[in-house]
């Protein structure tokens, strides 16, 4: 029996078929990779949004006093909602420490601090207290750490019930909004 190989035509057709199939697989692969990356970045936004809201909520609920004044609504004339919010920490009632959540660029920081007078720097005093000369106390920052990233904005508004709105952005944008009542803060509703 005579051994017969492929003809050139057969080879070309087979090659063309192979390239076509391989190209198709490559296209699917590339699409999947892009989708994976995009979804990963989107998941990152959601993750950071949840972290920001959950961490602030937990501590705001226990707050005993607000330091930062905030507008009643996000549309209050001439008073835009601030992107930083300071309050008296209620988790440790003895130590008089203050917490401040603030936005620096796209990063959300949680600052832990206390106030004291230069004459007695070890004694924590309330921020509203004045010394005998009428001077306010000085602030000492204990720590200031990043807790979330990819933030485009954070807004605080409301009264005793504070609405927190977090806008997150990288390629896409997500907005999370909720309201938290600071039960220990005296005010309307008591």
């Amino acid at each position: 029996m005579q051994k017969k190989g492929f003809t050139l035509i057969e080879l070309l057709i087979a090659l063309a078929c192979g390239v076509l199939i391989f190209g198709g697989i490559l296209a699917i692969f590339s699409l999947a990779r892009i989708a994976l990356e995009r979804e990963g970045r989107r998941a990152e936004l959601n993750q950071n949004g949840r972290i920001a809201i959950e961490r602030i909520s937990r501590e705001l609920r226990q707050a005993e006093a607000f330091v930062t004044s905030i507008p009643l609504t996000d549309t209050t004339q001439g008073f835009p909602p601030p992107s930083s919010f300071e309050f008296l920490d209620g988790h440790d009632p003895d130590s008089l420490t203050y917490l401040r959540y603030h936005l620096e660029g796209t990063l959300l920081y949680r600052e832990l601090s206390y106030y004291s007078f230069p004459t007695d720097p070890q004694t924590h005093v309330p921020v509203i207290l004045l010394d005998l000369d009428g001077n306010p106390p000085g602030k000492t920052v204990v720590e200031d750490v990043i807790i979330a990233e990819n933030l485009a904005n954070i807004e605080f508004f409301g009264d005793k019930t504070v609405t927190i709105r977090v806008t997150l952005q990288n390629d896409s944008m997500v907005i999370y909004q909720t309201s938290i009542t600071a039960r220990n803060v005296p005010g309307s509703g008591d």
């Binding site: 198709g24 699409l31 999947a32 989708a35 979804e39 959601n46 309201s179 509703g189």
Partner: protein
């Protein structure tokens, strides 16, 4: 036996064009099936994201109502469904409930239940998040 022998003698024949086309078609069909997973997965991710947002909207409503005293929360009331953010609607119902059965009661027996429902749109139609809280008169 002759049949078997016949098959063996044919061993160099390779695939026919039909067989090849069928197999390629099958491959394409399977690849399309696999390809369907991606948009579906992305859709599920979006639903999870919307569900989280909806839960926060529901939480906001409960926090706002709970900030007031028991007596000033009006029972037998429905705050009708309204849009709170594009794509998100909210409805809240306050009822007296029976302390034993926890069923809706027509009179004040010292317990109220606040149920808030947030509606949002997903690829498979409208979905809801329902949060409910019971408050006592003390």
């Amino acid at each position: 036996m002759s049949n078997v022998k016949c098959q063996w003698s044919n061993v160099n024949a390779g695939f026919t064009l039909i067989e090849l086309i069928v197999s390629v078609a099958l491959l394409v069909f399977l690849a399309m099936g696999v390809g369907q997973i991606f948009p579906r997965a992305i859709g599920v991710n979006r639903v999870a994201e919307k569900s989280t947002r909806a839960t926060y909207f529901a939480q906001a409503e409960l926090e706002t109502i709970l900030a007031t005293e028991y007596v000033s929360i009006t029972a037998d009331t429905t705050y009708p469904r309204h849009t709170i953010s594009p794509g998100y609607d909210r409805q809240t119902v306050v009822n007296y409930i029976d302390p034993v059965t926890l069923a809706v009661s027509s009179s004040d027996q010292g317990l109220k239940r606040i149920t808030t429902t947030v509606y949002y749109q997903s690829i498979s139609g409208e979905r809801t998040v329902v949060l409910s809280v019971i408050i006592a008169n003390h």
